[in-house]
């Protein structure tokens, strides 16, 4: 009898694992158990749906034909417990599902707020499609809203509310937005543009409590004693892996579910992938968390293949993200943050990697800029270790390629550290030669 492969979670890690299993074993028996009843959808796309850029049906990432070909059983249920010894899942309705190999792809959830009044209706977090639908229903024109938190999600919420005509107040604990990833200039550019979009930013402001009428939020009080009207309060203070199931099952845990290089947990028949997993990073020699779509895809592929009997090692790549901050494209690659603190987040937020905050063996940062178009690079002993490209994205792909390849930049290192237009001209020369040599090696010319 063939194995029964069971995947908990219908996010991108679960979907890609199922697709890989299907490719590896065309006749495999695959079940996907998920609390979410929806078809497979793009979580990052929720921000654009919230803004009103496109309708909900645009979020679905696979055609009906793709889903039919996948031929996986969908079980709409919450898993309450993993019974490791019995190789069974206990579902919320009391039913049991037997598995031979199991994948935990349960993702991450927003850290819930804890200030007085946080239980009032109208206090929201953004994790999934249901949350987005609920937020859109409440985001009425001209109504006052408050956003607290940091990172990409807080900004997407503030912009989404502004696009829907709400009067938005954004509270920042410190003076700068996303201070542990952006430098001061980058942060100020984003804040200025956000103000232009109609968002009022309150720096050095913390919420004390939410005040309600008939169980619904009506205003917020700040620590300084100011009262602002508020009918929708969005909280984005970071996300935590959904690891309750793993914990109850006694799997080895750290911040997430600890996995070996084959993405196996401490129980050899249980694998983990995506936001819930904590994989080893060979570069920094520590286990780091990513809350990134590309990482979830890479891990879903490896976990799916290994469940089917392969022995593929997961090698954590250089984490990157391209995101839209106040209409400006921003690419973040590798180690860029350099260990500053961000008071607006309790833990990392979505679209982020812990690796961005580490800058190993670096000895200089170079920025080239005009008003909004900037390239910032962190230069290591032999290679560029991180970069942030804001606005004009011409440098995004070249820097991504040079950083991922750990290309030896010794010949132009001094020039790069000199900064300015000359350093970028030297880098352009260097990059062109590097690509040409690479192409020549491939074609053998």
């Amino acid at each position: 009898m063939s194995n029964h492969y069971v995947i908990i979670g219908s996010g991108i890690a679960g979907l890609v694992a199922a697709e890989t299993l299907r490719k590896e074993e065309p006749k495999a028996d695959i079940s996907i158990v998920s609390e979410e009843p929806h078809d497979f959808y793009s979580r990052p796309g929720l921000a654009y749906f919230l803004r009103g850029d496109f309708p909900e049906k645009q979020l679905y990432v696979r055609s009906p034909e793709d889903v039919r070909k996948l031929n996986a059983r969908r079980i709409h249920a919450k898993v309450e417990q993993i019974l490791c010894a019995e190789h069974e899942l206990l579902l919320a309705d009391g039913k049991k599902v037997r598995y031979d190999r199991l994948l935990l792809a349960t993702g991450a959830l927003s850290v819930p707020p804890s200030f007085p009044g946080c239980e009032l209706a109208g206090v929201v977090t953004l994790d999934g499609l249901n949350d987005t639908r609920h937020i859109i229903e409440q985001a009425r024109r001209s109504r006052p809203a408050v956003v607290i938190g940091g990172g990409i999600t807080a900004l997407e919420l503030a912009e989404g509310f502004a696009c829907r005509g709400m009067k938005v107040n954004y509270f920042l604990r410190g003076k700068l937005y996303w201070a542990d990833v952006l430098d001061e200039t980058e942060s100020k550019i984003v804040m200025e543009r956000l103000r232009h979009e109609g968002v009022t930013i309150h720096t050095e402001t913390q919420i004390k409590q939410a005040l309600g009428v008939n169980g619904k939020i009506a205003s917020v009080e700040t620590q300084a004693g100011a009262i602002l009207p508020c009918e929708l309060l969005a909280v984005a203070i970071g996300v935590r892996p959904r690891s309750e199931l793993a914990q109850k099952a006694g799997l080895t845990m750290d911040k997430g579910v600890v996995v070996n290089e084959y993405l196996q947990t401490s129980e050899s028949d249980i694998y983990a992938a995506g936001d819930v997993a904590e994989a080893f990073d060979p570069v920094t020699k520590r286990r780091l968390r990513d809350v990134l779509w590309p990482t979830a895809i890479d891990q879903g592929k490896i976990a799916g293949a290994n469940m089917a009997g392969r022995k593929l090692a997961y090698v954590k790549g250089i984490p990157f993200n391209v995101t839209m901050l106040t209409g400006l494209k921003v690419t973040i690659i590798g180690a860029i943050g350099g260990g500053k603190k961000n008071d607006d987040l309790i833990t990392i937020s979505r679209g982020e990697s812990e690796a961005w905050r580490i800058a190993p063996n670096t000895s200089g940062t170079v920025s080239g800029q005009d008003d909004v178009n900037r390239v910032r690079m962190v230069i290591g002993e032999r290679a560029i270790v991180g970069a942030l490209v804001m606005g004009n994205q011409s440098w995004s792909r070249p820097l991504q390629r040079l950083i991922v390849a750990q290309s030896d930049i010794t010949p132009i290192r001094e020039a790069l550290l000199g900064g300015g237009a000359e350093s970028m001209a030297q880098l352009a020369h260097f990059y062109r030669d590097w690509e040409e040599k690479k192409a020549a090696r491939i074609t053998g010319t």
Binding site: S42, P294, V322, S394, R397, H429
Partner: protein, 98 residues
């Protein structure tokens, strides 16, 4: 001819393309295609939503496939709308042209 060194080259930018297209429509249009950087795609669907020809650009993007659809106008709508900079125009390598 003067070269602008500070730009890293590689992709043909959309404005350049449309200007060239004006001069010699057939030549340039037949030489460029939309190419994705699959690893950057978050499958949001913005590209497909904005394609005037109804091409499912997303389905190409995450699979890493260039748009070889004969209906593609090389209008650059998908390239410009993609919030993740996944799509770019690239010249079709000579060996695939006659």
């Amino acid at each position: 001819m003067a070269h602008k060194l500070a730009a890293p080259l590689q992709a043909i930018s959309a404005p350049t393309l449309s200007l060239c297209a004006f001069d010699s429509a057939f030549d340039v249009l037949s030489q460029a295609q939309v190419v994705p950087e699959a690893a950057n795609c978050v499958q949001c669907g913005m590209c497909s939503y904005n394609c005037p020809m109804g091409i499912d650009v997303r389905a190409h993007a995450w699979r890493g496939k260039a748009i070889r659809d004969s209906h593609c106008l090389t209008c650059s709508e998908c390239v410009n709308r993609c919030p993740r900079g996944v799509l770019r125009f690239e010249r079709i390598p000579l060996f695939v042209m006659k």
